[in-house]
């Protein structure tokens, strides 16, 4: 496979029909919430795009993100994109190992300086010199900085690399940080989720190849995929509007598929495509399966209070606060009230008898 081929050439070489490609472009357009009329534009642009070189680095992670993309139970349209990109280095997947693997990484950086895409999953531990995760004697931070230095762009896949994720959860023993905490001089596209929807990962790559750097929201996520909240696209939203809520996981409301807000659903504050894109080939998503959204594509989702307490409720023990406040109020009130009472009694004591002679101003 030649490095400077266009994607169209690669596809044809592999015997992928134009119709199959159109089908892929259609599902990608759908994913990006683009109108179907954009499908031919995507197809035309993507065909002419250069086959990109990709380095995939995995740091403190659970491999869930890689699992998400490489589910082995089926070959998918999304495989297409991985067939056409040149995934030159992937910690977890590569067949070779040891110094040879590291050599490949260095070679790719050298050969494609300024052109390759860097995909990162996992957070980067920086505490104690980064000793908590090292590869070939190098800390994750060192590898990231070295690899990022010559990348065209970085895609932070998964909540760990995008925001620190679970490794960063309180008390964050390894000092985990996100990619964007360390790299400030490269375009970074965050593709959070624990894991991200596989189609979204490929979708971001397609979008990148087709339209260049995508428009990002305040949290560095491509708006095309993360532009709307779970809540806004949730099929259970009408129940929310009508005030019909499940109170527990096995009550009538839960069986009838009512809104899971009371059970702690983070849909209203979670921006992701789960509600329409769904998982496992559009089979379902957590809310459809009867479980509230955990908000996994948001920063600090692990520390954002209980998964099962409603968004509107305070996260701390307010009952205790109420008792302390009342007790404190009673004490302070007694003290203040006592002073005021004494002041009033003093005034009564200081009363000067008023006689008719006192009434005239002149007197």
């Amino acid at each position: 496979m030649k490095k400077d081929q266009t994607i169209g050439e690669v596809l044809r070489e592999r015997g992928i029909s134009r119709r199959s490609f159109l089908k892929f472009c259609a599902s990608t357009a759908s994913l990006m919430a683009l109108p179907p009329s954009m499908i031919p534009v995507i197809a035309a642009t993507l065909e002419k795009a250069r086959r990109p070189s990709v380095i995939w680095l995995s740091f403190q992670e659970c491999t869930g993100c890689t699992e998400s993309i490489t589910r082995s139970d089926s070959s998918t349209l999304e495989d297409l994109i991985f067939n056409v990109i040149s995934l030159d280095y992937h910690h977890t997947l590569q067949a070779c190992a040891g110094h040879f693997a590291e050599h490949i990484r260095e070679q790719v950086i050298k050969d494609n300086a300024g052109k390759y895409i860097l995909i990162v999953d996992g957070s980067i531990p920086v505490k104690d010199g980064g000793v908590y995760s090292t590869i070939a004697g190098m800390s994750n931070e060192q590898i990231l900085k070295e690899t990022a230095a010559h990348a065209a762009a970085i895609v932070a896949v998964g909540t760990c690399s995008a925001y620190g994720g679970i490794p960063k959860a309180d008390p964050n023993p390894t000092g985990a940080v996100s990619v964007s905490d360390l790299i400030k001089d490269k375009p970074i596209v965050n593709v959070p989720g624990c894991p991200p929807i596989p189609n979204v990962i490929t979708g971001v790559l397609v979008q990148f190849l087709t339209f260049g750097l995508p428009e990002l929201d305040a949290l560095g996520r491509p708006k095309a995929f993360y532009g709307q909240s779970i809540h806004d696209r949730c099929y259970r939203r009408p129940f929310y509007d009508k005030g019909l809520f499940a109170d527990s996981f096995d009550d009538e409301g839960a069986r009838k598929g009512w809104c899971l807000y009371k059970l702690g659903c983070k849909g209203p504050t979670t921006y992701n495509a789960c509600a329409t894109e769904k998982w496992n080939f559009g089979t379902s998503f957590p809310i459809q399966a009867g479980h509230p959204c955990l908000g996994c594509s948001e920063p600090d989702f692990w520390d954002a209070g209980s998964f099962y307490s409603a968004l509107s409720t305070p996260t701390e023990n307010i009952g205790k606060t109420a008792i302390y406040a009342t007790a404190g109020g009673l004490l302070a009130g007694a003290a203040i009230g006592g002073v005021l009472r004494a002041r009033k009694q003093a005034a009564v004591k200081a009363h000067q008898r008023v006689t008719i002679d006192d009434l005239d101003k002149e007197s």
């Binding site: 169209g8 892929f24 259609a26 599902s27 759908s30 919430a33 009329s37 070959s75 696209r233 009508k242």
Partner: protein, 143 residues
């Protein structure tokens, strides 16, 4: 037309029990199809609706499909995974469904046009076919 009461559909919410409150997207969707069909007849303007982009309660899509029904044409395409193109019982209203190799749906569109693009022969593929045909004739000295 009784959309909500279409026989043969059993809309469900979540774990299969009846859905008390639909998203309400069904009727507007059918209106959109009607307007698109009018426009196509008047001006030839084509229209496509991505069903994955529209929130639907479980069962609602079944209701939609039952309402659209199946017309005269049914095409199975062998792409990367199957794709099925049917003309609904409303001519020029097409339902395009893409499956992956595990026969799971990965995309579904309603198209209002003469014929969905995916059915049409693709010039790029035709060019490759032509090349291959020539090569075939050449190899076998059939000139």
């Amino acid at each position: 037309m009784t959309v909500h009461g279409t026989p043969g559909t059993s809309p469900g919410c979540g774990s299969g029990s009846p859905c008390e409150i639909p998203t309400g997207n069904l009727i507007p969707l059918l209106h959109e199809i009607r307007h698109a069909l009018e426009r196509w007849l008047d001006s030839g303007e084509e229209h496509a609706i991505d069903l994955r982009g529209i929130p639907m309660a479980p069962g609602e899509e079944d209701q939609l499909l039952a309402t659209l029904g199946e017309g005269e044409l049914h095409a199975d395409l062998s792409l990367t995974g199957k794709s099925v193109v049917i003309e609904t019982r409303f001519p020029a209203v097409w339902l395009v469904t893409h499956y992956n190799t595990d026969e799971r749906i990965v995309g579904r569109y309603i198209e209002v046009c003469e014929m969905p693009a995916i059915l049409k022969s693709q010039t790029e593929d035709a060019r490759a076919g032509l090349e291959y045909l020539g090569k075939l004739l050449n190899e076998n000295n059939l000139q």
